[in-house]
């Protein structure tokens, strides 16, 4: 006996910070369809930016998403530097790299904690976030704030760092290596996690390309795309590091990619501190001529794409902000259908949806009469219960 049931995930629940609405249709225990409705988080930023001057815009766009607070302003700034045909001085490029990689570390550790919670490993949640605190301290040393950095400007960076600060940042990054590697070992070797994450939420390579998937969601499906290597910006082409790709496309692959990228980030930060040149940090741009520019940054979730059009005045004519989750969230449809309800929570998390970035949040729960519903915390419970079952069988 099968019947179609509507499962509404959203809009508010304790551990997923933004409200998002995924309406799942299930038959028995299987997901047969997914609909995503958004709109809560739309803050009209693109229109707002048309009334801000070019150098005010970074302060708006760093609040597109708190977790990608370094990526959005940098992508915008690179778009404007493209219009003005300006390159930031080398020291500024290294400083940008350091902040962006620290952001990647804190974002992936945040994700690891959330994923651990969804699977019922609450110790992982506490432990990943505890490991994350020193990274936020390093960001505070680098920029003055744990989040919302305001470190870049058109033509360079807004403030320099002393040698002591740079050494402290490198030390903190180095000390994080041990805990991160321990976390990797724990995840990659745990048979219960293998059972929960392998062959779950698979996104095929073909679907990943058609949906335009980005970041670890794409790299976990075998698409070797990474803006830092393909269209280098900041100092990435001057440093030695690897792009992490996994072929299987399941949640395990995406987990592996994110954790290994955290190790690469540590490597990049230490090299950048070692090799950073002296000199100017600001190319002192005074005027933005008419033109169009595109800036791309590999945010923790994937490519952040900004397009800017200028007409020679002080204000952008048009600023397009496209965060990676806008492309990644639709892939949830492809990777969720056919799998069990108990796997929905972790599959959704594996897309690492940063709803803020997508500027979209969800609508009310529309219950069709006579239909059962689980809210998101109930879905998380289902996921945690499944882990218990798997552990008992193992």
């Amino acid at each position: 006996m099968t019947h179609k049931t509507m499962l509404n995930i959203g809009p508010f629940h304790p551990l997923q910070e933004e409200a998002e609405f995924f309406q799942l249709s299930i038959e028995g225990e299987r997901v047969v369809d997914v609909d995503v409705r958004t709109s809560y988080n739309h803050r009209g930023i693109e229109k707002l930016d048309e009334s801000k001057t070019f150098d005010q815009v970074p302060f708006v766009v760093e609040r597109v998403c708190g977790i990608c607070s370094a990526s959005h302003p940098l992508a915008y700034i690179q778009a404007v530097e493209d219009i003005a045909h300006v390159q930031a001085p080398p020291r500024a490029l290294y400083l940008r790299t350091i902040v962006n990689e620290l952001e990647r570390m804190h974002s992936h550790l945040l994700w690891a904690g959330l994923a651990g919670h969804f699977l019922g490993y609450n110790t992982v949640f506490m432990w990943a976030w505890k490991c994350r605190e020193p990274v936020l301290d390093a960001l505070e040393i680098a920029t003055g704030s744990r989040v919302n950095y305001a470190n870049c400007k058109i033509g360079g960076v807004r403030r320099d760092m002393t040698d002591e600060q740079l050494q402290e940042i490198a030390r903190i990054a180095g000390e994080a290596k041990g805990p991160v590697e321990m976390l990797i070992g724990a995840v990659l070797d745990d048979p219960v996690l293998h059972a929960r994450l392998k062959n779950v939420g698979v996104l095929s390579k073909k679907d990943a390309k058609a949906y335009g998937a980005l970041g670890p969601t794409a790299r976990g499906s075998g698409l070797p795309i990474d803006v830092r290597r393909d269209d280098p910006y900041a100092a990435y082409d001057r440093l030695d590091w690897n792009v992490i790709v996994a072929e299987e496309g399941d949640v395990f692959a995406k987990t592996k990619v994110r954790l290994l990228e955290t190790v690469e980030a540590i490597k990049i930060i230490r090299q950048a501190v070692r090799d950073i040149p002296g000199g100017q940090i600001d190319a002192k741009v005074e005027h933005i001529p008419p033109g169009e520019g595109i800036g791309r940054v590999e945010a923790p979730r994937g490519e952040t794409f900004h397009y800017v059009r200028s007409d020679g005045s002080n204000y952008p004519v048009r600023h397009k902000v496209r965060a990676p989750s806008f492309n990644n969230i639709p892939t949830f449809k492809a990777s969720c259908i056919g799998y069990e309800v108990a796997d929905v929570a972790i599959t959704l998390a594996s897309v690492d949806p940063c709803y803020s970035c997508t500027e979209r949040m969800c609508t009310a729960v529309d219950a069709e009469s006579g239909r059962e519903m689980y809210n998101f915390s109930q879905l998380v419970k289902l996921s945690q219960q499944k882990t218990e079952r798997v552990r008992r069988q193992a």
């Binding site: 809560y40 988080n41 739309h42 803050r43 708006v60 976030w129 605190e133 989040v147 949040m361």
Partner: protein, 146 residues
């Protein structure tokens, strides 16, 4: 009034609502649970339903879409409760005040359903976790004197 507020002199259960935020405040709220700040030692926990909450921790600038939902959540929250408007956005919509997709600010939204709502404002973008803890303590003190 005094009897009602007596009920609040115990561990505080917090329900977190995001009304259209960039996430920074939300992450810092979650950070309060983690070992460095550990608000659980004060008996404060995040609960999964507003019906169990003493404190409604509201982040975000209250977009048009979120406005009616916030009002529904407030109605569902067990009374008495304190609304904590966390961050510049929840205080006064911050940098997004001029945007076309904003609803009314969080305090006006809530006062539209309950003119006597107790609202605590925690400024910052985002407020540091220490500021949030200080805010809860201060709000607690204020309620005790009502």
């Amino acid at each position: 009034m005094a009897l009602k507020n007596w009920a609040l002199r115990k561990s505080l259960w917090v329900y977190h609502v995001n009304t259209g935020a960039c996430n920074n405040c939300d992450i810092e709220v979650l950070d309060l649970l983690t070992p460095r700040y550990d608000i659980e030692r004060f008996g404060m926990i995040l609960v999964g339903s507003p019906r169990h909450a003493d404190v409604l921790a509201v982040t975000g600038s209250c977009t048009r879409q979120a406005q009616p939902r916030l009002q529904e959540v407030y109605r569902q929250t067990a009374k008495p409760c304190v609304v904590m408007a966390i961050g510049s956005c929840a205080n006064a919509q911050g940098i997004f005040a001029e945007s076309y997709h904003m609803g009314s600010p969080v305090d006006e939204t809530i006062r539209a359903v309950d003119p006597d709502a107790i609202i605590a404002y925690v400024p910052g973008c985002p407020p540091k976790p220490e500021a949030m803890i200080a805010a809860v303590v201060k709000a607690w003190d204020v309620i005790n004197t009502l």
